[in-house]
C-alpha cells in the first residue's frame, strides 16, 4: 500500500506542536499579569470603538467574495444532485451563502436558520419549512383543486418530516433549500438539534447549505449523519469577512472581566434591595475586607453582627436576605476548616472597595 508520506509527516508535526505547547505551558514561568493591568477603558467606550472599527483589506475581501461567484453554478449542480453543501474556512460566510441563494436559487424557496442565535425552536422552523413547501406544491398544481390541509402548527414532528419526505410532488426535482448559518452555533449545538436537523436534511424535498466555523464542528455528527443524512459536500471558502453576527453573543473579554464592571452590576442590584438588606451586605463586605484570608463569614457571626445593629430580628429574616443575595450571585457559601457554613462575596477586594460607597450607609 502506498502510504501518503506527506500526510504522515503532517500528522507528526501536529502532534509535535501539541506536546511542545503543553511543555511550554508547564515549564516556562507563567506571567502573573492580570487583565486589570491592561487598564481597560470604560465598557461604553470600548463598545463604541468596537462598532466603529475600520475593516482591513476591504477591497481584497470583496474581490475574494466576487471570485466565488464563478462557483455558483457548480454549487447549484451539487445541490441538485442531492448533496448538502458545507462551507468552512475563516471568515463569516453568511453574506456569501445568502448572496448565492438569492442569485442562483431563485427557483427554490429558501429558509435561513441562524445558528448563532442562542435559542432556536426547530419545531417552529419545521412548521415554516412545511408551509413554504406546501405553498410551492400549491403553486405547481394551481389548476388542480387544493386539498384540505391540516394546519402544520398542530402536527407532530414525525408528521412534518413525513410530509417533507413524501412523494406528493409531481416532479421529484423541486425542493426547499435550508441555509443554516453556523450549524455549529450555540443554538444548535445540542445533539437533539443536530439529530433533528439531520432528519430534516435527509428528506427528499429538502436540501441544506450550512456553514461551520468551529474547528471541532465535525465532532457534532456521527457517520450516519454525515454520509446518509446530511450527505455533506465540503467547500473550503475562506472569506475573511468579520464575524459580525456570529460574534454578537460572545462577551468582549476586556468589557466584562474588569472589577469595576462586576462591582457596578452588583451595585445596581443592591440598590433595588431594602436598606436593611443593603446593610447586611455591608456588614458582610466589611468583614471580608478586614479578614482577607479566611474562607468567609460564618453565618452565625453574620447573624450576630446584624442583630446587634438591629438589621434583622430573626434567623428567618437573615435567611430571606441571603436567599435574595444568592439568587443574584451576590454572595456564595462554602465551608471553612471548622466545617461551618460561611458566606462570602465573590468579588476581589478592590472591587468591594469600589462597591461599598455605592451602598446606603
Amino acid at each position: 500500500m502506498e502510504m501518503n508520506d506527506g500526510e504522515e509527516e503532517e500528522e507528526f508535526e501536529f502532534s509535535r506542536n501539541y506536546f511542545l505547547a503543553k511543555e511550554l505551558g508547564g515549564s516556562s514561568k507563567k506571567s502573573g499579569r492580570k487583565i486589570s493591568d491592561i487598564d481597560p477603558v470604560d465598557e461604553q467606550e470600548l463598545r463604541t470603538a468596537a462598532n466603529n472599527l475600520e475593516p482591513k483589506h476591504e477591497r481584497e475581501v470583496a474581490s475574494l467574495m466576487e471570485s466565488y461567484k464563478a462557483s455558483y453554478p457548480e454549487w447549484v449542480f451539487m445541490l441538485r444532485t442531492g448533496f448538502g453543501l458545507l462551507m468552512y474556512g475563516f471568515g463569516s460566510k453568511k453574506a456569501l451563502i445568502e448572496d448565492f441563494a438569492s442569485t442562483s436559487l431563485t427557483e427554490y424557496s429558501v429558509v435561513v436558520i441562524n445558528g448563532y442565535v442562542q435559542s432556536i425552536n426547530l419545531k417552529q422552523v419545521m412548521v415554516a419549512i412545511a408551509e413554504v413547501w406546501w405553498d410551492q406544491l400549491k403553486a405547481k398544481r394551481r389548476n388542480s383543486p387544493s386539498q384540505a390541509q391540516q394546519p402544520f402548527n398542530s402536527r407532530s414532528i414525525d408528521d412534518l418530516l413525513a410530509f417533507m419526505d413524501g412523494q406528493e410532488a409531481d416532479d421529484d426535482k423541486s425542493f426547499v433549500c435550508i441555509i443554516v448559518n453556523n450549524i455549529d452555533g450555540p443554538g444548535l449545538r445540542e445533539p437533539e438539534s443536530q439529530h433533528l436537523l439531520a432528519r430534516i436534511a435527509s428528506c427528499t424535498h429538502i436540501r441544506i447549505i450550512a456553514s461551520i466555523d468551529h474547528v471541532n464542528a465535525p465532532l457534532l455528527w456521527d457517520k450516519k449523519m454525515v454520509h446518509t443524512q446530511f450527505n455533506w459536500y465540503w467547500y473550503h471558502v475562506p472569506t475573511f469577512a468579520p464575524y459580525m453576527f456570529e460574534g454578537v453573543f460572545f462577551p468582549l473579554i476586556l468589557a466584562h472581566s474588569s472589577t469595576a464592571q462586576s462591582a457596578k452590576t452588583a451595585a445596581i442590584v443592591l440598590q433595588s434591595l431594602t436598606p436593611n438588606a443593603q446593610s447586611v451586605f455591608r456588614v458582610l463586605a466589611e468583614y471580608q475586607l478586614s479578614h482577607p484570608d479566611v474562607e468567609g463569614m460564618p453565618i452565625e457571626s453574620l447573624y450576630a453582627a446584624s442583630r446587634e445593629r438591629f438589621l434583622v430580628s430573626s434567623q428567618v429574616t437573615l435567611n430571606s436576605h441571603l436567599t435574595e443575595f444568592k439568587d443574584h450571585e451576590l454572595v456564595k457559601t462554602r465551608r471553612n476548616a471548622d466545617g461551618q457554613d460561611c458566606v462570602y462575596i465573590p468579588l476581589a477586594n478592590d472591587g468591594l472597595q469600589k462597591l461599598l460607597p455605592e451602598i446606603n450607609p
Partner: protein
C-alpha cells in the same frame, strides 16, 4: 422595584423561546401572505419577505413612528438598563415598502455583565424615564446599523433578520425550471450582468436573458445525463448488495417463521384475553423472546443501516410486521417511553397521546392477518442504553403471548456483546440465535465489481483517483457507504466540470453509429470537436495532424468504448483466477489502471492498440513482479490443477461473451481442458483397476495424457499472457479517455474530507495567499500590522504554551499595531519610489495613532473571532487571566 424589573426581564426571556412568544404582531404580515408574489412583480418583492410563521416580536415591543427614524434625528425611547437593542423588524421592507410606519425595538439586556441574552422588553419599562439615541444611517437589510456617537448605554442596532432564529429568504419563483423562457424579471438580468462581467457592453439584455435561460436548460440536460448515468450505477450496486444477502435473509425468515410457530404453540389468547390491558400469565418458558443476533462484522454501523433496511423490506414482503428501532430511541435521557412510542408509531396510524404496550396488543388482535409475527429490528444493539433496553425486553417478554414479538439485534463485535451489555435477568428472557452478515471486504468486492467492471454506464476513474479511494476506504473510513458516496461525488464532479460529459449519456443509449448530439447540451458540433481536439490524450496521439471530424470522433469513441470493455472483461477474468486468495478487487483494479505500471506502460500514450515490445518494460519492472497481483493471477492460471482450471475457464467463457475473438480462444481452451479432465478421470479409474500386466500399456497412456496436459497448460498460459499483454490497457492510455474518466483527485478529496482544524489555521497563517493582498505577501516571518487582527493574534499566540496570558498577549498585539506608525514614518521616504499600494492607503489613514480604546476593541474583536473558530477558550474561574489555546498549529 428594580429587582422585579430584572425578574420580569428574565421571565420574558424564558417565554421568548416558548410558543407563547409567537403572539399577534403589529406587522401587517398577513397582507403579505395574502398576496403571493406574481411572476411579473417578483423582482419588486423584497428579499426578506416576512413569513407569517416565524416568531413575532413581543407584543410589548415599542413601536416608533416612522417619521422619527428618518434622517439622523434623535429617537425618544424609554430608558432601559440594557446594553444591546435590536431592531426587530425588516428595515428595508419597512422603509422601502412603507407598509408600516413604524419600527420595533426589542430590548436585549446584558445579564449582570455576562453574556448578553435575549430579553424582550417587558411591561415594566412602561413609564420609565426617557433617554435618546440617534440613528445615523440606514443600510439595506443585512448590514449593521451603527448608532452615531457614544449614545446612551451603548445601544447597538442590528438589522433584525440576522438576529431572528430563522427567516424565509425568498419563496420559489413560479418560473418553470426546464423551460427556455425569455423575458424574466429585471433584477435577474442585472444580476446576470454582474456575473458575466466579460460580456461586451453592447450585449442586449434580451441576449443575456436568452443566454441565461439556455445555460439553465443545458445545465438541466447535464443534470439529466448525470442522473441517467448515476442511477444505473447506484441501482446496480444496491441490487448486488441485496442479492449478496439473499441467502442470509431467507435463513432469517425461516427462523422467524419457526419461532413464530413455537410461540403460537404456547397458546393463543382469545379475544377477551387479548383485549385486557394486562399480559397473560403463563410459565416462564413461554416468556422467552426469540432473538436473532446478527453479527454485522463491520466497523461502521452506517453500512448496516442499508442491510437492515433491506432485511426489513424482505421480511415485510413475506408478510411479517416489521419495525425498526435504533439506538437513538434507547437513550437514557428519554426513558423507555420513547422507544415504545417510536414502535407504536410504526404500526399504528393517527396521533399517539400515550404510549402503552396494550395498544400494540389490541392493534395486533385487530389485524386481519394476525397469523404473522411482529419483528423488531434493533440495528445497533451495543450503542443502546443497557437499562432501557433491558426494560424494553422485560416488557416485551411479558406480552409475548399476546404480541408474538421476535427481536433481531445487530451486533458489531462478538456474540458475547449482549452478555456484556444486558443484565442477567434480561438475558434470561432471550432465546438467541446467531446469524452472520457478509464481511466488509466481500461487500467491497461486490461493489467494485458492479461499479467499475460490470456496469453498463461507462463512467470510470483514473488510477490516481482509484488509489485515493482505496486509501480513503482502507485507512480513513472503512465503510462501503462512504465509498459509494465518494464515487457519486466523483461522478457529479465529472458532470459539472467536463464539458464533454454528455458523451457518457450517449454511450448509455448505445447509438454507436451516430455522432453525439452535442447541441442538445449547448455545444455546437464544431465546438464539441474543438474541445475533443484539445483533450490532452488526443493531442498526444499521432492523430494530432488529422483534424477531428465527426467520423473520426465517432471512431475514436467507439474504439475507446471497445478497449474499455475488454479491459473490464480481462480484469474480471484475472480476478476470477485469484478470487480465492483473499485478494481485494480494488487493489487489482488499481494495478490494472496504472498507466505507468508494468502493464500500462507497454501502451504508448494514445497509441490505442499497438503494444510496444514489452521485453524492456518487463525487465525494468521485474522487481515489482512479485508483488503484482496481475502476475500472481497469471502464475495461478499456469499452476491450477485441471479441474479448477476447468471451472475457471468456464467462468471466463461467461465473462468474455461480449468479445468474440477472446471468447473463441477461451472456448477452445475449455474443450482441451475438458479433454484433459476426461483423460485424468479415465486414468484414475485405470489406476484403481491397475494390474501388473496392464502397466506397460498404461505407461503409454500416461505419456499421452501428460502430453495432452502440457499442451492444454501451454494454451492456457499463452491465452492469459496474450490477454494481459493485449487488453490490460489502462483507460488513461487511450485517446479521448477524459470523457469517461474522472481524474481530479484533489477536488474529490477536498469535497469528501473537510479538514476544518487544519484549514482554518492555515487560512489564518497564509491569508495573504487567499486574499491576494500585495502588502502582506512579502512579510516573511514578521508580523505586519496590516494583517487581519485575528491573524496577528493567532500568530502571536503561537509563542505561548497551551494557555496565554491575556495581558501579555494584549501588550504584544498593541506593539504590533503601533509599529505601523514607525513603519510608515520610516517608509515615507521610500514610498516615493513605490507605486501606492492598498497598504499605503491604510497606513496614511492610520497615521493618527489609534486610540487605546480602538486597540482594545480590536483586541476584543479578534479574541471573539478566535473563539468563534474554536481556537481559544475564554478564561475560567480558576485562571481568570489566561485564555486556553485549543488548537496547536496546522
Amino acid at each position: 422595584m428594580l429587582l422585579s424589573l430584572v425578574q420580569s426581564l428574565c421571565s420574558s426571556s424564558l417565554s421568548s423561546s416558548s410558543p407563547t412568544f409567537k403572539s399577534k404582531s403589529a406587522l401587517p404580515s398577513s397582507k403579505h401572505s395574502e398576496t403571493p408574489p406574481s411572476p411579473s412583480s417578483s423582482h419588486k418583492e423584497p428579499k426578506t419577505a416576512v413569513s407569517p410563521f416565524q416568531p413575532r416580536p413581543h407584543p410589548e415591543a415599542i413601536t416608533l413612528p416612522f417619521s422619527r427614524l428618518t434622517g439622523s434625528g434623535s429617537i425618544e425611547t424609554r430608558e432601559v438598563h440594557s446594553a444591546v437593542a435590536f431592531v426587530s423588524a425588516r428595515c428595508e421592507w419597512l422603509l422601502d415598502g412603507k407598509q408600516n410606519k413604524g419600527l420595533k425595538l426589542k430590548r436585549k439586556k446584558t445579564e449582570s455583565g455576562l453574556v448578553p441574552t435575549h430579553l424582550a422588553l417587558g411591561s415594566c419599562h412602561r413609564g420609565g424615564a426617557t433617554s435618546g439615541f440617534t440613528v445615523s444611517e440606514f443600510t439595506p437589510a443585512g448590514k449593521l446599523l451603527v448608532p452615531s456617537g457614544s449614545s446612551s448605554k451603548g445601544l447597538h442596532l442590528h438589522c433584525c433578520c440576522c438576529m431572528e432564529p430563522f427567516t424565509i429568504l425568498h419563496k420559489a419563483s413560479s418560473r418553470k425550471t426546464d423551460k427556455i423562457s425569455t423575458g424574466t424579471g429585471k433584477s435577474r438580468t442585472t444580476r446576470r450582468i454582474d456575473l458575466t462581467a466579460s460580456l461586451p457592453a453592447s450585449t442586449d439584455i434580451s441576449d443575456v436573458n436568452a443566454a441565461e435561460s439556455n445555460e439553465r436548460h443545458y445545465s438541466n440536460m447535464r443534470m439529466e445525463a448525470f442522473e441517467a448515468v448515476w442511477s444505473i450505477t447506484e441501482s446496480s450496486i444496491k441490487d448486488v448488495l441485496r442479492e449478496a444477502n439473499a441467502t442470509i435473509f431467507s435463513e432469517i425468515h425461516e427462523w422467524v417463521r419457526d419461532s413464530f410457530d413455537t410461540i403460537v404453540s404456547f397458546g393463543v389468547p382469545n379475544f377477551h384475553e387479548a383485549t385486557q390491558p394486562f399480559p397473560v400469565v403463563k410459565d416462564a418458558t413461554s416468556k422467552k423472546i426469540f432473538t436473532g443476533l446478527v453479527l454485522t462484522r463491520n466497523l461502521e454501523f452506517v453500512d448496516d443501516l442499508m442491510t437492515f433496511e433491506d432485511l426489513k423490506q424482505h421480511l415485510k414482503s413475506q408478510g411479517c410486521h416489521v419495525a425498526n428501532l435504533s439506538s437513538v430511541d434507547f437513550s437514557s435521557r428519554n426513558g423507555v417511553g420513547t422507544c415504545l412510542r417510536s414502535l407504536l408509531g410504526q404500526f399504528l396510524t393517527g396521533s399517539l397521546d400515550t404510549a402503552d404496550i396494550s395498544m400494540l396488543a389490541t392493534w395486533y388482535k385487530e389485524q386481519q392477518n394476525n397469523d404473522n409475527p411482529v419483528v423488531i429490528i434493533i440495528d445497533d444493539m451495543e450503542r443502546c442504553c443497557a437499562s432501557i433496553l433491558s426494560e424494553f425486553i422485560h416488557m416485551l417478554s411479558e406480552w409475548v403471548l399476546k404480541v408474538p414479538v421476535i427481536l433481531i439485534m445487530g451486533v458489531a463485535t462478538t456474540v458475547d456483546a449482549p452478555r456484556n451489555v444486558l443484565p442477567s435477568n434480561a438475558l434470561h428472557r432471550l432465546h438467541a440465535r446467531k446469524f452472520t452478515f457478509q464481511s466488509l471486504p466481500e461487500k467491497m468486492n461486490y461493489v467494485v465489481e458492479t461499479a467499475f467492471l460490470k456496469q453498463s454506464s461507462e463512467f470510470t476513474i483514473s488510477h490516481k483517483t482509484a488509489v485515493f479511494m482505496r486509501n480513503y476506504f482502507a485507512h480513513h473510513n472503512g465503510s462501503v457507504t462512504s465509498f459509494i458516496r465518494a464515487l457519486k461525488i466523483a461522478c457529479a464532479q465529472h458532470f459539472s466540470t467536463q464539458p464533454l460529459c454528455f458523451i457518457l449519456h450517449w454511450c448509455l443509449r448505445d447509438e454507436d453509429n451516430e455522432v453525439p448530439q452535442s447541441h442538445t447540451y449547448g455545444l455546437s458540433q464544431e465546438r464539441m470537436l474543438k474541445l475533443a481536439c484539445d483533450l490532452p490524450s488526443w493531442k498526444s496521439t499521432s492523430n494530432q495532424i488529422t483534424q477531428l471530424s465527426g467520423e473520426t470522433l465517432l471512431d475514436g469513441l467507439t474504439q475507446l468504448k471497445k478497449l474499455h470493455k475488454t479491459w473490464r472483461m480481462v480484469v474480471l477474468c484475472l480476478y476470477e483466477a485469484i478470487k480465492g486468495e483473499n485478494v481485494q478487487l480494488l487493489d487489482l483494479m488499481c494495478e490494472a489502471l496504472d498507466p505507468k505500471g508494468p502493464f500500462g506502460s507497454q501502451f504508448d500514450n494514445g497509441s490505442r492498440v499497438l503494444p510496444r515490445d514489452n521485453s524492456m518494460s518487463q525487465k525494468s519492472h521485474s522487481l515489482e513482479k512479485n508483488k503484482s497481483l496481475i502476475n500472481r493471477a497469471i502464475r495461478r492460471v499456469k499452476e491450477l490443477p485441471a479441474n479448477q482450471l476447468l471451472v475457471l475457464m468456464k467462468a471466463w467463457e461467461k465473462h468474455t461473451v461480449d468479445v468474440p475473438e477472446l471468447h473463441s480462444e477461451v472456448k477452445a481452451l475449455v474443450l482441451s481442458v475438458l479433454k484433459l479432465e476426461e483423460d485424468g478421470e479415465s486414468l484414475n479409474q485405470n489406476k484403481v483397476e491397475m494390474t501388473n500386466t496392464r502397466r506397460q500399456a498404461l505407461r503409454g497412456n500416461l505419456n499421452a495424457a501428460d502430453k495432452n496436459s502440457r499442451v492444454a497448460y501451454e494454451k492456457a498460459s499463452n491465452l492469459v499472457d496474450s490477454m494481459v499483454r493485449k487488453y490490460v490497457c489502462p483507460v488513461e492510455c487511450v485517446a479521448l479517455h477524459e470523457v469517461l474518466c474522472f481524474d481530479s483527485v484533489d477536488k474529490l478529496q477536498a469535497a469528501l474530507i473537510g479538514d476544518t482544524r487544519r484549514r482554518i489555521q492555515i487560512d489564518l497563517q497564509e491569508f495573504h495567499a487567499i486574499i491576494r493582498c500585495s502588502c502582506c505577501s512579502k512579510r516573511g516571518s514578521t508580523i505586519l500590522p496590516s494583517m487581519p487582527d485575528s491573524s496577528i493574534m493567532y500568530t502571536l499566540a503561537q509563542e505561548h504554551g497551551d494557555v496565554v496570558n491575556v495581558h501579555d498577549w494584549y501588550q504584544s498585539f498593541k506593539s504590533v499595531v503601533l509599529s505601523t506608525h514607525m513603519v510608515s514614518k520610516r517608509g515615507k521616504s521610500r514610498s516615493k519610489q513605490h507605486p501606492p499600494t492598498p497598504k499605503k492607503r491604510k497606513t496614511t489613514n492610520e497615521l493618527s495613532e489609534p486610540s487605546e480604546a480602538s486597540i482594545q476593541a480590536r483586541f476584543c474583536k479578534a479574541i471573539v473571532e478566535l473563539q468563534v473558530t474554536g481556537l481559544v477558550r475564554m478564561p475560567n474561574r480558576r485562571r481568570p487571566d489566561y485564555l486556553q489555546r485549543l488548537a496547536f498549529g496546522s
